[in-house]
Symmetry: C2
Subunit: 336 residues, 2 copies
């Protein structure tokens, strides 16, 4: 690793010497709201500009005990939804004077490892983005003793005392089921991707419950092996091949848009059926491609900006750090 010593930055001390003042006066010039003469400040800024000086944030962090860095844990880069979320998240963090450390949680680098590392780096907070610890992985000791405050984004928190920001799944599924019921669908199916996830289970449960309220107690359950278009297509293929046309579902809700797109392709392509006339499709997440005229996928959009603002509010302390549930938006298009 090429060290930076070869290209030393100028320090406050050097600026002070150039300006004929003490280094503390230089510090003051760069500290908003501190008491300093206009004249001194001008002289400092002049010398600073000449020497190309700017404060060393590393040293500042060490002295203030605050790095203004936030670790963001991500463990599923397959979900395209991560990208717009990362865009919003980094943008709002930056607006708040914070910066994101992107941590990839995978086989080489697990949650505990990452948390310990983030702690060593003195981050001000950790965002578990779509990720959660299993309860067992962390001892109370590790959680209690000096770990940075943690927040869960877009996923239920599994740990007591760790707040989360989530999209209101109950409201979402209620809106969806109401919409489908109004359109006259009565034989619903639900395709899940990875049933181990609590968010996934929850969506399915709400879907089932609200249909039950409508008097529909039988929900066809499909499952895809993973969250990919191919897996969604395969799941539908299996289902259609073993089901007589008369007994088929008339609407399929997929756990996310990727599965839904795969399902639509399969239904139209290989089976020559129509969407929504033969089978209607609903997705989740409002992934961009679903909005194109070819798919026109009815879906549900998570309130990305509000979720991000909420979690940042928690981090900077303007919002009480308790779990926040925010309403999203049903987006009705041609697939239903």
């Amino acid at each position: 690793m090429r060290k930076r010593e070869t290209i030393r930055r100028t320090t406050a001390k050097e600026v002070a010497a150039a300006a004929g003042l003490s280094k503390w006066t230089v510090i003051r010039a760069f500290t908003p709201g501190s008491s300093i003469t206009e004249e001194s400040k001008r002289r400092v800024m002049e010398a600073a500009a000449a020497l190309n000086y700017s404060p060393n944030l590393l040293a500042r962090s060490l002295a203030t005990n605050s790095t203004r860095q936030v670790a963001v844990f991500v463990d599923d880069f397959r979900n395209p939804q991560k990208l717009p979320f990362l865009e919003t998240l980094t943008d709002r963090l930056q607006a708040a004077g914070l910066v994101a450390m992107l941590i990839n949680i995978n086989n080489h680098f697990d949650h505990v490892h990452a948390l310990l590392h983030a702690d060593q780096r003195q981050v001000d907070a950790v965002i578990l983005f779509g990720t959660a610890f299993r309860d067992e992985t962390l001892t109370d000791r590790q959680l209690g003793n000096g770990m940075p405050p943690m927040f869960v984004l877009a996923r239920d928190s599994q740990i007591d005392g760790v707040p989360a920001v989530v999209c209101d799944a109950e409201l979402a599924l209620r809106d969806i089921v109401n919409h489908l019921h109004e359109r006259g669908y009565r034989r619903p199916g639900f395709m899940s991707g990875a049933t181990a996830l609590s968010t996934a289970l929850r969506r399915r449960q709400h879907f089932t419950d609200f249909w039950a309220e409508k008097g529909v107690s039988e929900i066809e359950l499909l499952s895809a092996e993973k969250y990919s278009a191919e897996a969604g297509a395969e799941s539908v293929r299996n289902y259609l091949s073993q089901m007589a046309p008369a007994d088929r579902i008339d609407v399929l809700m997929c756990e996310n848009d990727i599965l839904a797109l795969g399902a639509i392709d399969e239904i139209r392509g290989r089976h020559g059926l129509r969407v929504p006339e033969d089978i209607a499709i609903v997705g989740f997440d409002n992934y961009e491609l679903g909005g194109s005229s070819a798919y026109s996928l009815t879906t549900y959009e998570q309130p990305r900006h509000e979720m991000v603002e909420a979690i940042i509010g928690m981090i900077v302390g303007t919002i009480e750090a308790e779990t926040v549930t925010l309403p999203g938006k049903l987006i009705i298009r041609g697939s239903t």
Copy 2:
């Protein structure tokens, strides 16, 4: 911002006191390869474990003048290709003991701002991922004086002395054109998304050149307003509406897969034409959905892992920091 002083970490000094040794001995216990007795090390580690101690990387960075942090600049979160790249990049950085600071370059936070900020944070390097400065934005002064070393990933470098890692566009387009020519296509078109980008211009130029070598000098040029499926569809729609069937192109190369997917939908859906029989389609980037049976898009895959390894090699100094051009892979599917 909640400071961390409330939850103070234990320091080497405290461990030293508990172990009855000096703090320097504690440091040695945590420094691989330093000379220390087995006995001392054992005592230190015992005390450290009891007090839950781990070294403060912030202080270490200040002392060693190396943060082992790398700033990654991203300015286009619309391109889904960013996500798998980010996955690979973070994974390999972490494997090298580095960590990524994800910086969102946008209207609120431009390149210069970001570079100055990264410099203040003392990052060991800056990766311009798919991004480039315009030549004018940086003065020689800013570039020369103590800025962290910069590297461009997946884009041509615009600045002298800033190395880049790119996919070999010449090879890619040669392979593509050869393939299309072999298949018998003779009336090629090229759809570009944002012609301002140098990478984009380059692809188009190579496409034109290689067709010229085959004796085909006329290339139909379509342009989409942005890199979205909708824009790709619209571009094709305009083209088809103003072109007599007999004069149509027989193959369309799109600058990336998103445009290509939109084009396919439009060609099949609204115009009832077949792919590849009426018009063949080629994309670029091997975006996941293109591989699904519905699209079966012929495309070109950038050598993601090799590119990432190369740029990390440059950063840690195992590879000479000169621009590296790596060969990708043509992926032939049903759309041609």
